[in-house]
Symmetry: C2
Subunit: 476 residues, 2 copies
């Protein structure tokens, strides 16, 4: 078993850090699409990655276009092997476009997050970027009649669907993997996000979520007993600095954040998406929580597994360095990309996830619209525009769309806000019962469960239909 | 015959200045939908007119929503009687929304056209305004499940279609009357606009367009003969000031503008849209041009008929007052609304209409993209964004749309850029062979030609289908 795991690690790291080379290119992108005067014709360099080795321009191969989301685009290149797996059979051009304000695509360079510049970080601007980039690539490759299929996972899946919503003149079909479409509506119960995280641990082992809840409560009792308790916790969790009360509250979120990622990236083989993780990290976590007398130690081990995955074998943990609180209770990541996501959580994407310790296994943390609004206003001067986002991006009703395939891993906590039912013949939902977050977008792997293989096959046949409707695909 | 015409005048003026009363209401509209920081949450008062006397809220009557275009919304209220004619049978709520920067809907009051404020005058902002307004009206009338059908003529027809393109979550069907959709593309030949104007006069009488061309050439020869010629022209055309060379060039455009309106509003009964006009003003114009020895006098009579229609019996004409040159060679109208349209012609709507005196009957006037761009840059600091508008508003390919009915009067010069063929089962084109500009949107009239009656009947049955698909219509 150990040997097999080691072997899997090798297999996966070579595929995770994708061995498909790319051209790193930059597009002269308009800074402001919606106001012709504010920044005039000012441009910035938008990064995109491109691979044309399979592209069959003669037979009008399609363009497979990844709508980049809230990380540097290289991360998605390294974790979306499905597109490389299918590109040869379609004779496709593969493009991964970086989202403005992430990675190297900074509209104002080092000043991008200063002052009013962040007002240009909106979904609408990002979609407009992609529309101009698609058009430019079509022109450069003389591919005006090629079909364009967008791909994306998570927020990128929302963007992929939105491209088909708003630019069906440019996009012939969209794969929206693990896209929490209904975040932009009021038809979901935001408390369900952490309930879903909890369910993953409960499903691994009935005692697991119960014991994690117990561990959280033990920890909380200890913290509230005063300095001695806080000191013991600092030691138990191998923190670099001793905890005070504020630090403790932050530590709760730091731990909770680890659980979110373990559930999202609960893949059947080791991966390296946001963090280096073993195969089935939820099972591995539950291994620390059952058949043990020291539940607190288990909780610390789980947390350490996650944060060590990111940073190697750390001598101690710096909770302020490793987790930054933001407007998204599921976490915003670290560095400039986390600021960008925080801004998006403060403008159009509504994530008011709460925990109550009853439905879910976490310590109760309240989070109201008012708390978010106060935070956003004071930090960025932003007033969230939930209604606008809902109306503009069809939050309440995505059914007028067409040629969109919504796939959701049922074990992915984000599935609570996903499209889980077919909404029409050209608006299909796929449930991957054993799937975590956007597993179907990853490259094939010997450990793939059968339902993800089935999902990918349905995706391939659907994509084939979409392309054929534009131009008959050459058999290869 | 004379008596009958007089009677018609009475009939039409009472219906043209619509006798349907309205509530004049104002909506707190977001100044900038696309940048949450530039103007923050600043609002302005957007005017809309509303009539709920027919609204059947119990049986979920639909909302018939006019997407206002480049004039005060009252003008459209007074010239879109079709909506009032059909509202009772549908139990509909009727709303006419004013376009930002026109009429009383000025985002910055008297400062609206100053500095960078005009950067907020875009099609995208206008559509966003309508989306929020529709949502608000639905909430206020508890009409969340009512179907919404948009209506519009000319640029308003484009907006009506765009609402269905971009907001099918809010709009269930769209009537786009005389909408020159392909202006936002490069698939049309812009010289055809004035060719179409010419054709209307030729169709009225074969000699008519030929004689108008002759008259223009006589006039041009006279103007180029020097001061004596210019003085004679000043007298012939009853100008308030004597012409110089610059004045003459402006006069050519002033006359040409009259012909555009006569062709557009060549209705079978007297009307008062932009100008008070008799029934069949093209026929009436041609009456001045055939069986006469003095072609120049005929040209002056036609021009006078148009400008007198607007201003009553004028003692003389002020060409600078009555016609303002702008980025749209077909004319921008007068006053602040004309500035707003000029700005739109300088940003997203491309009208590079030329005349050559060969295909058309006018004096040759060149108009290149460069001339437009230089004008727009120097006057407003605007660089036209043709490509962006094309991509964002599907200029090249409107076929992904659905539930849109494009109607075009074949005698309307704007039809050269209209959708003249069905593009799918839910994307229908109606040609009204004897129709001028958006005749079908006008209220019924005893002088309506049979094909406009047929067109309206098809529109009604199509609207019925769209509404029925949302909620079964109660039989009334």
């Amino acid at each position: 078993m150990k040997l097999c795991q080691i072997l899997l690690v090798c297999l996966v790291y070579s595929s995770a850090l994708s061995d498909v080379p790319y051209k790193e290119l930059y597009f002269e992108q308009t800074v402001d699409h919606f106001n012709p005067l504010s920044y005039g014709e000012k441009k910035f360099k938008q990064r995109y990655l491109l691979q044309d080795q399979w592209f069959d321009v003669v037979d009008r191969g399609p363009i497979l276009f990844y709508t980049g989301n809230e990380l540097p685009i290289t991360t998605f290149w390294n974790n979306t092997g499905f597109m490389f797996d299918i590109a040869p059979q379609f004779g496709a051009l593969v493009v991964f476009a970086e989202h403005r304000f992430y990675g190297k695509s900074l509209p104002f360079g080092d000043d991008s997050f200063k002052g009013n510049n962040i007002g240009l970080l909106t979904i609408e601007q990002a979609l407009a970027d992609y529309s101009l980039l698609i058009n430019s690539i079509k022109q450069r490759y003389n591919a005006g009649k090629s079909a364009v299929i967008t791909f994306g996972g998570s927020y990128g899946g929302m963007l992929s669907a939105y491209m088909r919503f708003k630019y069906p003149n440019l996009v012939d079909g969209a794969i929206a993997a693990s896209a929490p479409m209904y975040l932009l509506s009021n038809v979901i119960d935001p408390s369900q996000f952490f309930v879903r995280v909890t369910a993953d641990f409960k499903q691994s082992n009935t005692n697991c979520s119960a014991n994690i809840r117990k561990a959280f409560n033990i920890m909380d009792g200890m913290a509230k007993s005063g300095d001695t308790g806080l000191n013991m916790l600092s030691e138990k969790f191998m923190l670099c600095s001793k905890l005070n009360e504020t630090g403790y509250n932050h530590m709760v979120r730091w731990i909770t954040n680890a659980f979110v990622s373990l559930a999202m990236f609960n893949y059947p083989y080791p991966t390296n998406f946001l963090s280096g993780l073993p195969a089935f990290p939820v099972n591995k976590s539950c291994g620390f929580m059952v058949n043990t007398d020291d539940l607190l130690k288990g909780l610390a081990q789980i947390t350490a597994m996650f944060y060590n995955g990111t940073n190697g074998k750390l001598p101690c943990f710096d909770i302020w360095e490793e987790y930054v609180e933001c407007a998204d209770p599921s976490g915003c990541g670290l560095g400039p990309d986390s600021i960008a996501w925080d801004i998006q959580a403060c403008s159009e994407i509504r994530m008011l996830f709460t925990t109550d310790g009853v439905q879910d296994m976490f310590l109760p943390i309240d989070y109201t619209a008012k708390m978010r609004n106060d935070y956003c206003k004071s930090k960025y001067g932003l007033v969230p525009r939930d209604k606008w986002a809902s109306l503009n991006l069809w939050g309440f009703d995505v059914s007028p769309g067409s040629n969109i395939l919504f796939s959701n891993g049922f074990k992915d906590p984000w599935a609570f806000a996903g499209v889980l039912h077919d909404l029409g013949p050209n608006l299909t939902s796929i449930i991957i019962h054993n799937g975590a977050h956007q597993l179907d977008l990853r490259g094939h792997n010997v450990n793939d469960p059968p339902d993800v293989i089935k999902a990918r096959n349905l995706e391939i046949s659907t994509i084939r239909q979409w392309i054929n409707a534009v131009f008959p695909i050459k058999l290869r």
